[in-house]
Symmetry: D2
Subunit: 345 residues, 4 copies
Amino acid sequence: MKAFVYRGPGKKALEECPRPEIAAPTDAIVKIAKTTICGTDLHILKGDVPTCQPGRILGHEGVGIVDKVGPAVTMFKPGDRVLISCVSACGKCIYCRKQMFSHCTTGGWILGNSIDGTQAEFVRTPHADTSLYPIPEGADEEALVMLSDILPTGFECGVLNGKVQPGSTVAIIGAGPVGLAALLTAQFFSPAEIIVIDLDDNRLEMAKRFGATTAINSADGNAVETVMKMTAKCGVDTAIEAVGIPATFEMCEQIVAPGGTIANIGVHGKQVALHLERLWDRNISITTRLVDTVTIPMLFKTVGSDKIDPKLLITHHFKLDKILEAYEAFGNAAKTKALKVIIEA
Amino acid sequence: MKAFVYRGPGKKALEECPRPEIAAPTDAIVKIAKTTICGTDLHILKGDVPTCQPGRILGHEGVGIVDKVGPAVTMFKPGDRVLISCVSACGKCIYCRKQMFSHCTTGGWILGNSIDGTQAEFVRTPHADTSLYPIPEGADEEALVMLSDILPTGFECGVLNGKVQPGSTVAIIGAGPVGLAALLTAQFFSPAEIIVIDLDDNRLEMAKRFGATTAINSADGNAVETVMKMTAKCGVDTAIEAVGIPATFEMCEQIVAPGGTIANIGVHGKQVALHLERLWDRNISITTRLVDTVTIPMLFKTVGSDKIDPKLLITHHFKLDKILEAYEAFGNAAKTKALKVIIEA
Amino acid sequence: MKAFVYRGPGKKALEECPRPEIAAPTDAIVKIAKTTICGTDLHILKGDVPTCQPGRILGHEGVGIVDKVGPAVTMFKPGDRVLISCVSACGKCIYCRKQMFSHCTTGGWILGNSIDGTQAEFVRTPHADTSLYPIPEGADEEALVMLSDILPTGFECGVLNGKVQPGSTVAIIGAGPVGLAALLTAQFFSPAEIIVIDLDDNRLEMAKRFGATTAINSADGNAVETVMKMTAKCGVDTAIEAVGIPATFEMCEQIVAPGGTIANIGVHGKQVALHLERLWDRNISITTRLVDTVTIPMLFKTVGSDKIDPKLLITHHFKLDKILEAYEAFGNAAKTKALKVIIEA
Amino acid sequence: MKAFVYRGPGKKALEECPRPEIAAPTDAIVKIAKTTICGTDLHILKGDVPTCQPGRILGHEGVGIVDKVGPAVTMFKPGDRVLISCVSACGKCIYCRKQMFSHCTTGGWILGNSIDGTQAEFVRTPHADTSLYPIPEGADEEALVMLSDILPTGFECGVLNGKVQPGSTVAIIGAGPVGLAALLTAQFFSPAEIIVIDLDDNRLEMAKRFGATTAINSADGNAVETVMKMTAKCGVDTAIEAVGIPATFEMCEQIVAPGGTIANIGVHGKQVALHLERLWDRNISITTRLVDTVTIPMLFKTVGSDKIDPKLLITHHFKLDKILEAYEAFGNAAKTKALKVIIEA
């Protein structure tokens, strides 16, 4: 089968690979219909993710059709259309029992990382019963690709951890795909204000179209001041960090209101300065989270009832044999205005 | 009347001062029966608290008898025995309505800070109806002095924010009075393990007597390793910071389990390094809080039913005219083994 | 001044009454701009509310301008435009401290019940600082009349108690004003399905316009069966009772899913049969609540940001001197299609 | 092997039966070390549980040693010492994913009900990975038998659902084994008062020994009055129903405080009268629940750290071949003072 393979820092190729086989009784083999590329895949290609070794087929998102199942799989059978969670969950370890699938002792984020992933014609999915989700008859599969990772990430790490409430004031720092996913899902809770801050006017424009009440370009260094002025010097109830660098996290520290929450989504490579000398008495919370995808069933219902349109996030389409072009478009988002790209296998 | 007055950095005196008068219709004047000294008072004496200016009568804790009330006070009358909250709350501003009394727009921590305090024969307490608490017939008033500040601080900022649960594993960094208050109140929730870490063997000894299941002297630099070994490398569900310096906060970052909480109580003077490069995907929460004292009614009930013995925290007694000796004892705790000192007015 | 007075069962009159005076230092006198009629007022007129004695001016909703304030009122001054909560709250009793304003020991629902109310040119509002809410510049006052009672009632008793969530399935039994208020505010949380059940096709038609995904006329006795069929025999996550009779409460018992909630809003005059022989092992919750109006500040923000349009509930307008006609219209809703009627003073 | 078999209403026998075999890849066979009898077993013997047909081996509690495992079992291997949950959970159906194991679509309470149970030398346990719990080295296995059903039932249905809190006032109606289990586990949260009400002085005496602050014999019909007097006419924060008849549930309705909770544990055979005409405006919650046993891991930790002594509930011991005597003792508790009886296989 064809598959997109990481060949070491800066090296990648669409290759012919053997089709995966059932390795454990709880495995399924899924024939991929549509997959996509995540920012994390770009990190891997740079060599920044040591758990992902050369030779690995990338990709941890996608929808497809069950091709084979192991003998212990009871929830799915060949022919079932399924969504693949970016996180594999055994459903029985100490973390899975606490709904922290991200920390599953034999799962977590392994697809396209420590085992072969979804940017291929077929993929082996471990713990299939608790890591795949049935796609209802008539559903728009392309929209559902957004439920593998990006929407639950924005929702769980940003919106739920950030305790977004009706009437509250939310700031989202970073209008990349995950920030926009937080923006879309924050609206489930009807906040009064959603302020989006970024450096890219095109993305800010999209943020406005997706429901931001205010879009601020922080290039002039006045974003904090603007937010404080807008909020009568109180700050925001929820500050969602969706970039992953010290400057944006510290911006969150500056704009969070007393009693508010900073919900971190960003993948950080360095420590940040936590200004406890100013925040120790401000009654704030800071949360971090790797997506658990426990809200996928809930998100299915919101998509099915048109409470959200995940396809807003999809900007480009490619066939699997053009996946190198897809990476090109996705990796040059400032120029191509790409958010999420769909790859059809 | 006699009162203990801050006279600028390093200067203090027991002085003769005019008795306070009702200034607003919601004020009460309370004749102090017993008060105490807080670590914050030592900070003021060093000149570290700019809101507190020379000439100020210190003290924000105590019990006494209502002497006079303003015309709008309806919950208390002269002769009532009352506990004074360290935090004054109007009960009607935006923060009070959210139970964040610490941020009351006309209150918060003002006693012995921006207005005269309780280390005196009489004190004016603003917002009396929502800042004083009736003392039940027959209660031990000395024990109740611990409910003005130290016990709600340990309980709200450490135990409640830290989400201590039956069977959970808790670490408390710092066995000073506030750390020990967290230790005492953590036991309301029956955690399986309470590990207390400090540098002072005497305080660790007290921690063991107060219910710590493990006491670790961190002087040898192995505390983190010890905790990780004790917890099968998982770390603790709740790490309570009760010191207020970067080293102890970072120790919390090292020992918190995936899914766990760092509850900060310490008053910090500097920024700390938040290692998001390691914590971004660990599903943790960090909380900060200035005590709101909203749990005083709950704490009254736990004291009345012998679920906690606040007098464990009391090590010394002085008369008001010996308050300089009381400060001497409290300020040299390593030598005097002082925790909380009772001052009788 | 003119006022609408209850004169005993079946008797009522628009009368000339003395203007109210400040009676306690925490009182305000409010000049009414707009008020409305509640279903409870009809109960009073029938003689069903023993706490309300003949001679009482009715009404517990409205907006107006502060005319006078007592000496302890600090949040308002004459000339301020305010919303009047249907529930008076002292802000300091044991219930107010728990945010249960409905049970305030010197307040609760007293306006137009045990003290004179708002269907008059002026009203005395006790505990003004914690029972009035400032109206922002430029706000639509007519819409805000809906925040005195009907919207917080639907939201607090139905939606919040019912734990409505994104993607969940909600049934509302009763499409009168309070059921429709629950319908409007349920949408803050983006449930997937909102099924409204009533006997009146006109009200069901309105429910559809207000956002119901399904409207069921229960006249044929098949409503339960229809709901169970729609939900794959699971039932609904939240069943909101907004009628107040045994038949509708028992319908909720029949359609609530395992793990679901029955949130009662209805004012009941009789006991109902709770089928514990069928429900004891179904992991359900049942809640009751008299509105606390603690969400008025939150609701203000949702109105200000166009997350809800309270004016949808307003069907008729009258001048105060035509209030008997207003009662006529409101009391014959099946014929007049009245929901809420605005009365201008 | 020997096993205790239900032979139709009023009929039972200790019989020689074939040893169970692995039937599904997720099954385990457990060699029973110790089991016990539940009140539900008595109901079955009367013919009151239609899902349990004649020929069934009874019993849904116990500890033992894993004898065999199916090929998909990964958490256990032969020789492991395990606790058996009374509820079998697949860990992957819609209910298991919500932690409602009681409603597992292929599990729930099936042991000793719709499949053969634990009152035998061996038992087949379905969904072994998510229905068995490893017993730590050195643990007291007899104490742990109480974690199969009785303690999680009291804790989940009574204490957690009842939201018991530090300082709160709790009433438990019924001092049978499950009421006493609620009493023991309520103390995890340090309530100020635990009032236990029963008709049997012996059980009330035990309740006092187990930590009840007040024991009331309700035979004289004054229990409600006594509770209301004790609580200054407020009532209790939490009323736990642990009997299962209308009279005791209605007693809960009479003593629950405004804002309080009625947590039902009792197995009810009839409807009860819910006095909404009095309760509709009291801001109460009523909960029902079949135990999910999701707290077994938490309970293990509380037992391991001596926060609770489950052996207090054990009054009698029998060998498996004397199980008819064990049923005799358990079924005549008023005379034998039996709570839980241990049966050694």
